[in-house]
């Protein structure tokens, strides 16, 4: 099998795309398109199911007859119930508020910290950089118990401030680490020129580094926002009143009543809670992906 291909390849291959043209279409369909289609169906099916359930009347939801993959009589009853009979709008507002404020605080602190570590290179900055990376690896599931006692002592229990102050514990290490990588890629010569021309360090940060780091800040900001939006364990532990809850916690703790599950409104809650991050993500896919891969790179 390899012999003829190698023989043809050695004489014919000119472009860097390799020997793609040698793969026949049926072979490509079996080895590439079918697996990709299978991956997409599995990865997207839960979202389809969420959406279709949201618009199904209860009678169709609880029937085993007919085609379950489609809606015969779409209804807005579940969404109506969610928006007018539950505290869902409050949860949505809380999630937006907490995510925006926590992201803003974290981003500001991270820009300063990353610039100090990467560019000012003060004594011990290497070790600070290392500890930032280690802090990034500390999972919330081992912090929530002691944090709960601290929140209680500070009398912040059951307030939005509790979440705004604790979310930066995972946002700052992430954003700082990401921004350190971006600052590293900005040529030092730019700063040296400015220093020679008499610019102060603050002027350099504001007028030279920040404008060049805008893509990095967008990446970090988008990523931090989705992380805050998705946070669950702190919001579950530090907040107990309905009007302070975030969407993920509110849906889990308040829409599940007893043994009767209101699947329609549960799915509507999940769908409406997922849409804002999905829409935001769709506008900033490239930034998000570069944030994701930038954070993993060393």
């Amino acid at each position: 099998m390899t012999e003829p291909i190698a023989a043809v390849a050695s004489s014919d291959v000119v472009d860097s795309t390799g020997m793609r043209y040698l793969e026949s279409l049926p072979r490509r369909i079996v080895t590439i398109y079918v697996p990709i289609a299978a991956f997409l169906i599995v990865l997207l099916f839960p979202f389809y199911w969420m959406a279709i359930t949201t618009f199904k009347p209860n009678a169709e939801l609880l029937s085993r007859e007919g085609n379950p993959f489609w809606v015969k009589n779409p209804t807005l009853a579940h969404i109506h119930k969610l928006l007018f009979d539950t505290a869902y709008p409050d949860w949505l507002w809380n999630t937006v508020l907490i995510s925006v404020v926590a992201t803003f605080i974290s981003l500001t602190m991270s820009v300063l910290a990353a610039y100090a570590i990467e560019r000012l290179r003060f004594r011990g900055s290497r070790y600070v950089g290392m500890s930032i990376f280690l802090a990034y690896l500390v999972p919330p599931s081992i912090l929530f118990i002691p944090l709960a006692t601290i929140i209680y002592k500070l009398e912040l229990f059951d307030t939005r401030l509790a979440l705004i102050l604790t979310y930066p514990t995972f946002l700052i290490p992430f954003c700082t680490w990401l921004l350190m990588g971006y600052f590293k890629s900005i040529p030092l010569e730019l700063e040296e020129c400015a220093l020679i021309d008499g610019a102060s360090r603050l002027q350099i940060l504001v007028k030279i580094i920040l404008p060049l780091a805008v893509p990095g800040m967008i990446s970090a900001g988008i990523f931090a926002f989705t992380l805050s939006w998705n946070e669950f364990i702190y919001a579950l532990t530090f907040v107990s009143s309905s009007e302070v809850k975030t969407v993920p916690v509110g849906v889990i703790t308040e829409l599940v009543e007893g043994d009767v599950y209101h699947w329609g409104s549960l799915m509507a809650g999940a769908l409406l809670g997922s849409l804002p991050v999905a829409v935001l993500y769709s506008f900033f896919v490239e930034y998000y992906v570069s944030g994701l891969t930038g954070a993993v790179k060393e």
Binding site: I32, F39, F47, R64, R121, I233, V247, M267, G269, V285
Partner: protein
């Protein structure tokens, strides 16, 4: 120019002063809400603290009790099983998906964007969709399998221990595969096509190219990605909390969900903190394994070349 500078602005030009000043906000917040709780959590693990009552030092009592506690042992087993199975499958499927997405495809950017959706949507909310998909009476999977004639009655996905374990693992894999795939794809894209060209000129088959070109060059990023994946999976909480709350018969309790149950629902802060603290050695082991595995690999490649 020099004489107009005040002492303050001179201090601001000093790297260490300015560096310290810039670090201050982040450092204060992280020390107060990350480093201090990390220490406090470890200390709580050695006390009999309850909700509303400061604890007293009890030494290793909590750990001794938990070691003899059947539920805790089960949770440890579940956590290791969950992490091992989910991580291996996520790696295999993630790498496969990354290789597929690295081919020349129409709508490549669009495909990459929608593949990542499961990862960016709140886990708690997608877990509710899985809860509905796994419903004992109205599960769509059971419906489809029944129609295809593969099963006789609806499967109780979350009601039986091993069913529930594999159902939660499947949901975790669903959420984790996009992360592994997209980060590995970024790694794949850094490999120069000229390596493949050279390999194919030398008569290497597709498998040989993958084994001797792709895999070695991808190893560093695989190590990092899988470390993150293992850490996330080992400390997972949301998925289990939403799908099963640790049931049936504690069959899906992970250490994180058990520590929440004991500390917050049950009020035994000390016991819960001890369970959380017991996770730390595993996390450190995973990080060290990846770190030294990576180093050895780099060293081997360095000396193996030429």
């Amino acid at each position: 120019m020099a004489h107009t500078q005040t002492a303050l602005s001179r201090a601001l030009e000093n790297r260490s002063v300015l560096g310290g000043l810039f670090m201050l906000p982040a450092a204060v917040l992280l020390l107060l809400f990350l480093t201090y709780p990390l220490g406090l959590g470890t200390w709580l693990g050695f006390t009999d603290a309850k909700v509303g009552r400061a604890g007293e030092w009890v030494g290793l009592d909590n750990f001794e009790f938990l070691w003899g506690d059947a539920v805790t042992r089960l949770a440890l087993f579940n956590t290791l099983f969950y992490t091992a199975v989910a991580s291996v499958v996520k790696f295999v499927l993630g790498l496969w998906l990354a290789l597929l997405l690295n081919k020349h495809l129409p709508f490549k950017a669009f495909l990459r964007a929608i593949v990542l959706l499961p990862f960016i949507v709140p886990t708690a909310l997608s877990a509710i969709a899985f809860w509905w998909i796994y419903d004992s009476q109205f599960s769509i999977i059971s419906w489809a399998l029944l129609r295809l004639g593969l099963i006789d009655q609806y499967i109780d996905f979350l009601g039986q221990p091993w069913h529930a374990r594999f159902a939660t693992i499947a949901a975790n894999i669903w959420r984790g595969v996009p992360f592994v795939a997209i980060t590995l794809l970024a790694g794949l894209q850094t490999i120069s096509p000229s390596y493949y060209e050279a390999a194919s000129l030398d008569g290497a088959s597709d498998w040989q190219q993958f084994r001797h070109v792709t895999l070695p060059l991808l190893t560093p990023i695989i190590a990092v990605v899988m470390t993150f994946s293992v850490l996330f999976t080992f400390t997972d909480f949301q998925l289990i909390y939403v799908l099963t709350r640790g049931g049936p018969l504690n069959a899906t309790h992970l250490m994180a969900t058990l520590s929440f149950q004991r500390a917050i629902s049950g009020g035994s802060l000390g016991e819960g903190a001890a369970i959380a603290t017991a996770m730390v050695p595993f996390l450190i082991a995973a990080i060290l394994f990846s770190y030294f595995g990576l180093q050895r690999r780099a060293w081997q490649q360095g000396s193996g070349d030429k």
